[in-house]
Symmetry: C2
Subunit: 358 residues, 2 copies
């Protein structure tokens, strides 16, 4: 192959830029500095290790109320003293150019406060699910981020996961025709009695904790917004689940006529998604676990090509969207769309009747 | 092996009877004479061929309103003229010793009438599902059969199917611990517009036609009777399903705390059963089709050892129960238990609220 043809081929492959000296490219950050707010299980065991696997993020800061945790993380991840905050002095992060993104991993009752404080500090925000306790809180968060010109992504990692993206594509492209029925169930047995997950006013209960994944799945599988819901709450441990729901069943109605039969629980281990469409079906089990997503279609296709680390994929996707100023895969509006349905689900269960969603 | 040892072994295997001359055994019928009432699709394509495969049944009679069908069946199956009845002269079957069992394969609105007429004619009865339109009708049928000392079995073939029996055993023996949640869905796309299956007063609609299988499955999987139900009816073809339900979602509550999330439809093809238990899960897809029942457990067991013909197994089981005077696997009471729940499902959907089942 001649040198000229080789060069042409490089351009055709879109890799020409790699062949040019770096000084010809505009200077651009390649990695965003991330600060984790709240150093519980999810930050400790999943996000911090995942950050080490990202290509476009670096763990640069932490926000914690625990000096012991601060010391441990500082040592483990080489975080400079100046990048460690507590919940009182957190707002000073505005003056810290090391931090581009604040990832909020606090109990849901604190999501609005810390999202809004981070936005006012000029930082982009990644916020865990459920986005907040009410749709009004979500709207407020979206508005504050918009006003402060920062991006807001919700931590629904499944929407970044390749098998999930494949089935989202089935719905969008009508690969199996019109979607008719979704059965989805997720839950785990939570043996704790006095964690915030057992307190609804803190954002606990099955629906807030796990149910939003089932709901989100019904929405991303159909690509539609439900207009009505019927829901029932149940408990086998009333002494623990006096306030929050241990188990919720909910049924969604979509404009196309598609229906979803959903279950979520903190009292049983389950994780599956089954989609019935006009010309076939597909299912994943598990559909939402941290690894091992796996399924099949009625056409005999095995769905097992996932990613080594879901959280790393999610954070890299979101970092690239910020670096390149492209749309986020799961913006704040996506969290709001779920929470407005969750409000209707809570109301339906309380009132014992079908609730329309405006 | 000595002859003596061989003989002992035969006795140990329970096969000694086979070695004895027949004249030493009490004379007993080996096959029951069966008359099919109603020669629609299910009799024509499934029951009549299945009867040829049974070991304890013989197709000896037919009851039909169509002389053309009578002639065709007479020829195809060698049915004597005297064993052919129409709906008017059917009661004369009382005088026909060829017929031991009358299998009622009519639209559900006719099940009570023909069950009771057959009982008064002194014949045992196999009646297709749904047993009848109301729980009161079912009770009446059970009473008339009892008064006339005839047996009444309901044609829930799945309860005879080996894989289904295996999962019934899982519940009974708590193989996977307490059952927590069942997701079950069955349906098919029915393109017809004016069949009786689109007329609720004739026993049509998804719940009567397919939903009873899902309901029956929730009951046989748990081995419990539901005490409350919430249900929603939906249609995408209101011009056809103005009276009967095209699609029904229903949620059952069982005394143990187990829940069932069920869907049934005449507007979509689906057939699956998923069981979440305390220590694992198992699923079948399909769980209710005429063949190909298949599934797996969370412990890696593949469930695929079914029978060549479900209807033959069902009829042989029921014939043996009658010949040996042993309990029927699916007696009339089992049909009644479903129909009382179906009544509650219809009421819940109509009233838009949870209904307790007394």
């Amino acid at each position: 192959m001649s040198q000229r043809r080789s060069f042409v081929k490089q351009i055709a492959l879109g890799s020409a830029a790699l062949a040019l000296p770096n000084i010809l490219l505009p200077r651009k950050k390649e990695r965003l500095g991330v600060a984790l707010v709240g150093l519980g299980y999810y930050s400790t065991d999943l996000l911090a290790p995942a950050l080490q696997l990202t290509q476009h993020c670096t763990l640069r800061g932490i926000v914690t109320g625990s000096p012991e945790k601060a010391a441990r993380w500082q040592k483990q991840y080489g975080i400079p003293e100046k990048n460690i905050y507590d919940y009182q002095n957190f707002d000073r992060i505005a003056d810290n150019p090391d931090i581009d993104v604040v990832y909020i991993v606090l109990p849901p009752m604190l999501h609005r406060e810390f999202t809004n404080r981070a936005a006012r500090a000029g930082k982009h925000i990644w916020c865990e699910k459920p986005m907040a306790l009410t749709a009004a809180e979500c709207k407020d968060m979206i508005g504050v981020c918009r006003d402060n010109r920062v991006r807001l992504a919700i931590g629904y990692r499944m929407q970044h996961e390749p098998i999930t993206r494949e089935i989202i594509g089935y719905g969008r492209e009508k690969t199996f025709g019109q979607i008719k029925l979704i059965s989805v169930a997720d839950g785990y047995f939570d043996g704790r009695a006095d964690h915030w997950k057992q307190k609804r006013r803190m954002g606990g209960g099955a629906m807030f904790d796990m149910g939003v994944y089932a709901l989100n799945a019904a929405r991303y599988v159909t690509g539609e917004e439900p207009f009505a819901v019927t829901a029932q709450e149940h408990t086998t441990r009333p002494e623990i689940y006096s306030e929050a729901d241990e188990t919720t069943l909910f049924q969604l109605e979509f404009p196309s006529g598609a229906l979803a039969n959903c279950a979520t629980s903190l009292g049983m281990n389950m994780n599956y998604l089954h989609v019935t469409a006009e010309k076939g079906s597909y299912q994943l089990e598990p559909f939402q676990s941290y690894s091992g997503i796996r399924g099949s279609t009625s056409r005999g296709k095995v769905l097992d090509q996932s990613v080594p680390n879901q959280q790393a994929r999610q954070m890299d996707d979101d970092a690239l969207a910020i670096l390149n100023d492209t749309p986020l895969l799961v913006p704040g509006e996506e969290g709001w769309r779920d929470i407005r349905v969750v409000e209707a689900i809570h109301r339906s269960a309380f009132e014992g009747r079908r609730v329309r969603i405006d």
